[in-house]
Amino acid sequence: MSTAALVLLALLAAGPLHGYDLKKAHDQRFPRGKPLAFGQVYGTLSRLERDGFVEQAGQTRDGGPDRTRFALTDAGRARLNSWLAQIETPAPYVSSDLIAKVVVALLVADTEEARTYLTEQRRAHTARLRELTVLKTDPAAAIGDVVAADYAIAHIDADLRWMQTTLDRVTDLHREVHS
């Protein structure tokens, strides 16, 4: 099951919602994530209903068209609980293009090309760090924004440290080979 589907199940754990409110609840909790498209919400709900994880829980009409509310079933709750009980493998946060480029810059490109690439890459990373820091230190920032910014900052910071370590390693290696 996709993470998006599991997140929808989790949002329904608090009580029945219709598709529109589900989308709003999702986007509020993951404000820096990729917004869910309405089509994706309805498509996912219909698959979850087919598989018995959610069920229809009546219709509401607030001056507009009828809206079907969906509720979590016992099977849905069990699925959600088993997902939460499953420990994630500590997967590396791999931005494969970044790895590929840094390795190419250090091992294949000439020094000037490597310097230019690394300088610009660092600049891009630090500029993003600064933007995220401004965002999260804004007194009006919502907790969801702060938490999402923390996550991104930690990963960008890790990228920078990794780039530095890799560079130091390659420099050492070069020194050994040429001494």
Partner: protein, 232 residues
């Protein structure tokens, strides 16, 4: 407007060079991060800019005056009136309460006791530690101590705050709270800040960063050496 600058500053400790000709300008109201790995000379640069150390060669200018040419007494006076300094460890006086620690620079400057205490309480409040005003450093967390030290560095309303690894001894969240408050207050007061750190995420609180490596500015930020792997 440039408030503070180093021009070709050279400084050695015995035979060991720490700065090999560093030029840096700090604009009034700017928050500048000086970053780089351990031993790159960033703390030495801060000490030269703050007039604590005198360079072996080169110039340090504060408001267009040659700070490095001043007597120790004159530089010391300037540090009391215009500069505030915050180090990695707060260096609070253990026998004094937080409020007394913060009031200390004002009392040394000749301010009346009551007035100094009122100002100290205001600054503790601004840094979010008013609740520990009567506690001694030993009774406070590391984060609270460091925020008191920040209040003490700012109580004289300096034009420039020099902060040397101010979050180095703090856990991530305490460090972040300190930085958040420090930066907010500095912007409100239009205080210029020179922030020395080896951490990119701390430097991200600044408007701009200068990266040093082996005592020299390193624009690449990674110290890409002249000789490296590949075809070079």
């Amino acid at each position: 407007m440039t408030l503070l600058q180093a021009r070709g500053v050279v400084k050695s400790y015995g035979p060991t060079p720490a700065l090999r000709g560093v030029t840096v300008e700090v604009a009034a109201g700017e928050i500048l991060a000086v970053t780089g790995p351990s031993g790159c000379g960033k703390s030495t640069l801060l000490h030269c800019l703050a007039g604590i150390l005198v360079p072996d060669a080169g110039e340090v200018l504060y408001r267009d005056e040659r700070l490095d040419a001043w007597s120790e007494a004159k530089r010391s006076r300037l540090r009391r009136t215009d500069f505030g300094v915050l180090f990695q460890f707060g260096q609070l006086v253990p026998e004094l309460s937080a409020a007394e620690n913060v009031a200390l620079p004002l009392l040394l400057g000749g301010r009346a006791r009551k007035e100094a205490r009122t100002a100290a309480l205001t600054w503790l409040e601004r840094l979010g530690v008013a609740d520990v005003a009567d506690a001694r450093p030993g009774e406070m967390s590391g984060g609270q101590q460091q925020r008191c030290a920040a209040a003490r560095a700012l109580v004289t309303e300096p034009r420039v705050l020099f902060a040397d690894e101010p979050t180095g001894a703090l856990d991530a969240l305490s460090g972040e709270q300190l930085l958040g408050q420090l930066v907010r207050v500095a912007r409100e007061q239009e205080t210029t800040v020179v922030l020395v750190t080896h951490e990119a995420r701390v430097a991200a609180y600044a408007d701009r960063e200068v990266i040093l490596r082996d005592g020299e500015p390193d624009p690449s930020g990674f110290g890409v050496p002249a000789q490296m792997g590949g075809r070079a």
